[in-house]
């Protein structure tokens, strides 16, 4: 039996709860189970099932290869174009799905929010796990591609989780903002798909960052996914493409700001979620 003391608390108007972060830990099981629910539900009653996680990025990659590689003949820094695109497609698809599901997560869990208490931060966090699983599944295609073009993994590959982490927090920070805004202003429902579609073209997925004119480079790096995508390419090609430290630093700063302000804004609006959702 747990001691009573743990459950003694006071609710007061306009006062930040001291227990929030402790509560977050106490509710970790709910986090696992919500993530598990989203994963379990995603491919129910589909014939292709998990295959969809593979097919989506694969088909998009094939289109990119034809349109940008074969027709537009964009340069790919000496890496075979399919590998070049897929190395970017992976983190981008991860970001887009994670951002979309986090952004919509609160609204789609409205019934929970209005009926049960738990730290709401769990919802967007758990929703990103699904994107993570999809990422891992489609990662197998990358391995197949690398075999096909006889690219053997080098030590660079070991840095991949770090870039993935950067992408995770980029999606989480941005997702927190959008999710809490979406509760009050459903306009963001329309902004989310727009961002993930437009982002595909303004991020260096189909082309190389080096194509961006020198004077706009710094501005371009403000998109945190630029460093993630370039990092993936660098790690997968075994250092064949350029590694740009400025890019990574700018991205880390932007992602940190996104997460900090995202979390602050989320915490500030969290208490009214149940009233406005």
């Amino acid at each position: 039996m747990e001691k009573n003391k743990d459950f003694e608390f006071t609710i007061e108007a306009n006062k930040a709860e001291r227990h929030y972060w402790a509560d977050l830990w106490r509710y970790r099981e709910l986090f696992y189970i919500l993530a598990w629910r989203d994963i379990a539900v995603q491919y129910k009653q589909t014939i292709m099932g998990v295959l969809w996680a593979v097919l989506r990025p694969l088909l998009t990659m094939m289109i990119f290869v034809v349109v940008f590689g074969k027709i537009a003949k964009l340069p790919s820094e000496g890496v075979p174009y399919p590998v070049f695109v897929f190395a970017a497609m992976l983190p981008w698809t991860f970001f887009a799905t994670a951002f979309t599901s986090a952004g919509n997560s609160l609204v789609s869990n409205a019934n929970l929010i209005s009926k049960v208490y738990f730290p709401r931060l769990i919802i967007p966090a758990a929703s990103i796990i699904v994107a993570m699983v999809d990422f891992l599944i489609s990662f197998t295609i990358l391995i197949a591609l690398m075999f096909w073009y006889s690219y053997f993994p080098t030590w660079h590959m070991l840095t991949l989780p770090l870039f993935l982490l950067l992408g995770f927090f980029a999606a989480f920070g941005a997702g927190l903002f959008i999710a809490s805004l979406n509760v009050k202003y459903r306009d963001f429902r329309f902004i989310i798909p727009f961002v993930s579609q437009l982002g595909l073209y303004i991020s260096p997925v189909a082309f190389s960052t080096t194509l961006v004119p020198e004077k706009y480079q710094l501005l371009y790096y403000m998109n945190p996914m630029v460093a993630v995508i370039d990092g993936f390419r660098w790690a997968i090609s075994g250092g064949q493409t350029a590694f740009n430290m400025t890019e990574v630093i700018v991205s880390i700063i932007v992602v940190t700001l996104l997460c900090v302000f995202g979390a602050i804004y989320f915490r500030k609006t969290e208490k009214t979620f149940a009233d406005v959702i």
Partner: protein
């Protein structure tokens, strides 16, 4: 040690009601445009502040206002009151779903709240999966659920369908499973909203039994219900809420009596009604057998006559008004004032509905009034406008044994087969 489970001081919860918003959602554009306007006006030193204009579109509504009470450990407290009295808001604030605007709540003990049956159930998941999901949502640990899993399944009577997605469940099975998970929660303080209003009678009885069992184990229970019988049998104390405040707290029988016979006069306000026509038709009052107000007691042998008065601000084509009676949250009947295709003329109207004697069984009934343009989506509706009580007076026409909602006076016969030669 301290034997207080919940202590509430000066609790208030304010909602800001917006008028004239096109859709339910806040419009981002309005906020952006409004914000830009504010900046422009604030830059202009000659413009008057437009504060009054803004205030006219919003209105403060105190769902809870200066609520104070203390609940001792092991108390079973019922909360009763009309819809909109603030019962659900109180539970939401106590369960930390929403933050109070003023005041302080001190809670001592592991608290679990059950504001809805089956919160978070996912239709695509199987019964087994949903038990774990729902249990976690209600605050049970995986270990706890595992140890009670068999008990939950047996109580819900769904053994055969454990691996079927719950979307293929009948609604009865669904509710049984959902309630069963909730019934196996073991908090020190349990907060329950009207969740027993679902499910069939048999299962409701089982649930009440289970709750009674739980309460004997010395746990603290807060229980919102419209079912006075359940309140009377389960709760040793009851709070009566009216307009966001606690108007009485004390013994259950006294609270129930006050709830059924309030001393103040009840008048309809436009806020009692909803729907697109709420500004076109204004209902004033209802009289039951000539007595205006609420809490009227009727003898079962009397004919019931409802007389509804109001004003129609414009002519409405093929409009029929309806009077609905509810008992224990179940609709007993719906009856209309005119035949189809009759227009409601502009001006004052009185509509009457008669219900023959001995039709309704003794008990508390609440009245809802509404109306609808036929073949049209325009409607108006107001529920729980007032209530009346059919007295318990037993006779051959109204036998105590004859249980249920409607009464059919003795009309049986018995023949012995062997006597027919």
């Amino acid at each position: 040690m301290n034997n207080t489970a919940i202590k509430v001081e000066n609790l208030g919860k304010k909602y800001v009601i917006r008028h004239e918003t096109g859709n339910g959602d806040d419009n981002f554009r309005e906020v952006v445009v409004g914000g830009a306007k504010k900046i422009i006006t604030s830059l202009n030193p000659f413009s008057k502040t437009s504060k009054n204009d803004e205030d006219s579109t919003t209105e403060d509504f105190w769902a809870l206002n200066d609520v104070n009470f203390e609940i001792k450990k092991g108390d079973k407290v019922g909360i009763i009151g009309r819809n909109g009295a603030g019962k659900s808001t109180l539970l939401k604030v106590l369960s930390r779903i929403t933050e109070p605007t003023t005041g302080k709540i001190h809670i001592n003990g592991r608290i679990a709240s059950l504001l809805e049956v089956g919160t978070g159930f996912h239709p695509e998941l199987t019964g087994r999966e949903n038990i774990y999901l729902n249990g976690a949502i209600l605050g049970m640990s995986r270990k706890e659920i595992k140890s009670k899993f068999d008990e939950i399944v047996t109580f819900a009577e769904v053994e055969k369908f454990l691996d079927t997605p719950v979307k293929r469940y009948s609604s009865g099975m669904y509710v049984r499973l959902a309630f069963s998970v909730a019934a196996h929660l073991e908090p020190e303080i349990l907060v329950v909203d009207e969740v027993l209003a679902v499910g069939d009678v048999e299962f409701q009885k089982k649930c009440l039994g289970k709750m009674g069992e739980v309460s004997k184990e010395g746990r603290t229970i807060l229980f919102v219900s419209h079912n006075m019988a359940a309140i009377a049998s389960l709760c040793n104390k009851t709070m009566l809420m009216e307009r966001g405040q606690i108007s009485y707290q004390g013994d259950s029988p006294e609270a129930i009596k006050r709830y059924m016979n309030p001393t103040h006069q009840h008048e309809f306000t436009p806020n009692s009604f909803q729907g697109p026509l709420k500004n076109d038709i204004l209902f004033h009052s209802i009289a039951i057998n000539g007595e205006e107000g609420i809490g009227v007691t009727i003898h079962p042998a009397d004919e019931l006559v409802f007389e509804v008065r109001g004003v129609s601000k414009k002519r409405l084509d093929s409009f029929r008004m309806a009077l609905m009676l509810y008992k224990d949250n179940m609709r007993v009947l719906t009856t209309r004032d005119v035949l189809p295709n009759v227009a409601l003329e502009e001006g004052e109207f009185i509509f009457t509905v008669k219900i023959p004697p001995y039709l309704l069984r003794p008990g508390l009934y609440t009245i809802a009034i509404g109306g609808r343009k036929e073949m049209h989506s325009d409607w108006i509706n107001g529920t729980e406008l007032c209530d009346f009580f059919i007295k318990e007076e037993w006779s051959l026409e109204n036998e105590q044994e004859n249980e249920g909602v409607i009464n059919v006076p003795f009309n049986g016969e018995r023949r012995m087969k062997s006597n027919v030669n």
